[in-house]
């Protein structure tokens, strides 16, 4: 009997074996790509920290407590900008939170099935429009037709008694920037809240309805408390977006370095002062002061993101069979 030639089952040169047939290089490449991401995250914080050094050695904590910003006199205090950022973000939240949560309730509980996707998409398209286009629309359309009458009304009614709403009012103001921000963060709040509400277990709804509650009572007493931490997470993500928004705010806030006393005053936000004064920053100290504001923004968004992710996670983890 002729012996069969032995089939060559495996061809393994030592080099191929060592490279695991190409898997070793592949693993290294994908690990490297993923590490670039981590490197970026750490690098952003590190580089901004190093580049803003001169401001920290010169002013220390005084930078975040000083109210005077005088580039020609080399005095840099960031309080007017911090106040501007917080005030505009707060206005945005006051408007966008009730609206966003209401939209989330409508889209998750009430909306007819066939309208759900298109309506949800249209609300989310608000997030796709670039910041600078919001700015153009704000300057030429929104401020003259909405903010101006609203501001005049506020200064003539509430402004008589409350300094917070006193004029003079010329359109570009904390109010204008805050209202535009509210439109910009609306999709963030409504989309994430909707996902959180959809993750509430069906049993929660049925139990409440079975006890005889109306649909609104079911939503208000059985669903919202259950989803509260997730909705809070959505609000915090919205806040994170509002804090860092640059172009739309720069174009509508007025860009005046003064401590605003009324929402109708023009002001400056942290992001807008960086964008607007960067070109003028001739000295190293001036540039490092602007970089220091950037570093503050970085830390704010880092902390808010961490908090928000934990909150949204906590809701979707409660109910493992449905994912938020």
């Amino acid at each position: 009997m002729a012996s069969l030639t032995k089939p060559r089952l495996m061809t393994r040169s030592p080099l191929q074996k060592w490279l695991q047939h190409g898997d070793l290089p592949f693993r290294i490449i994908i690990l490297g790509s993923a590490l670039i991401l981590l490197g970026l995250m750490i690098g952003v914080g590190l580089m901004l920290w190093l580049a803003s050094g001169p401001t920290r050695t010169r002013f220390g904590l005084g930078f975040v407590t000083g109210a005077e910003w005088n580039p020609t006199g080399d005095i840099f205090g960031a309080v007017p900008f911090i106040v501007g950022t917080l005030a505009t973000s707060l206005i945005a939240l006051v408007v966008a939170v009730p609206l966003g949560v209401a939209i989330a309730i409508f889209l998750s509980e009430l909306c007819p099935q066939r309208l759900r996707a298109p309506l949800g998409m249209m609300v989310e398209l608000l997030a796709a429009i670039p910041s600078v286009v919001y700015g153009v629309w704000g300057i030429f359309v929104f401020i003259p037709s909405v903010v101006q009458p609203v501001g005049d009304f506020l200064s003539n009614t509430l402004g008589v008694a409350l300094p917070l709403f006193q004029g003079p009012f010329f359109g570009s103001s904390l109010l204008a920037a805050g209202l535009i921000l509210s439109v910009m963060i609306l999709p963030t709040i409504s989309a994430i809240s909707r996902d959180v509400l959809l993750a509430v277990p069906q049993a929660q709804r049925e139990a409440s309805l079975g006890l005889g509650s109306t649909r609104w009572e079911m939503i208000w007493k059985a669903m919202l408390p259950y989803a509260l931490s997730g909705i809070l997470g959505a609000i915090i993500l919205g806040l994170g977006r509002a804090l860092g928004e640059t172009m739309a705010v720069t174009m509508t806030i007025g860009n005046v370095t003064q401590l605003p006393s009324s929402v109708l005053n023009p002001g400056y936000s942290m992001a807008s002062v960086i964008a607007n004064e960067w070109g003028e920053s001739r000295t190293e100290l001036y540039a490092s002061a602007l970089l220091q504001i950037g570093l503050l923004l970085f830390f704010m968004s880092l902390i808010l993101n961490l908090l928000a992710r934990l909150l949204v996670w906590s809701v979707s983890r409660k109910n493992p069979e449905q994912r938020a």
Partner: protein
Amino acid sequence: MVRPAPARLISSSSRRQSRRIVNGIMLGLTGLATLLALIPLIWIIASVLINGAPALSVDFFTQTFAPTDVGGGGILHAIVGSGILIGLASLMAIPVGVLGAFYIANHQNTPLGLAMRFGTDVLSGLPSIVVGLFVYTIAVAGHGYTAFSGAVALAIMMLPVVLRTTEEMLKLVPRSLNEASLGLGAPVWKTSLVVLLPAALTGIVTGIMLAIARVAGETAPLLFTAQGNNVFSTDLGQPIAALPLVLFKYATDPDPVRNTQAWGISFIIVVFVLVLNIGARLLTSQRTRR
């Protein structure tokens, strides 16, 4: 002994009535809120289309910068600049994002994998102006403003979007496909690139489209990197013009001719971004229907 009053088991009819009214009002308000949210969307798109259309002409697309007293010129330099910036950013962000997603998808529960997923979230939530300042510190300080640094900034903005969508799509590929390929003796890299990647391709393309849409209108990071340029330039080592930068400059210009041009640029950017967004959504909805 005092007997407790019997509990009212059934609410009186007037109370039931008021509960029903509250129910109706509140549910109506949520619908109203949704309608209210559509107003700014329609309003923005309408004003961009109406105000932008008169600015569009052949000259607008084929000429470069000119002073307003000779007509204001066109925006060819910015269109080319934006194309270069976005193209170069895509070349950097797409390979890194897709390959990185393979790592994260394969290491769901390891500490490093979790750290990277958190890193993706942080990076996508980072204010764009902070990204711009970061790229300034690593690539511009000491070298000067360049088109290349602008592309790096945009790539950093794109990376988390590409990474996140690719990872989600890889998770949707059936496990059996992976196991079948490995069982036939294919190495992991071949399985990943020849079997898994094509299976997830539609989703990945969607992610890339959304990433491009995200950076097409980005202005803040370019202020510190590409800086803008009135002269037609394709040199990666020099400052370069970009549509959003020109838009910002023209919108804040006191000259009404510039304002009209700003609307024209808004028109181009909004149409581009909306087409990408709606296209991406149609692609995914087709996929889920199948």
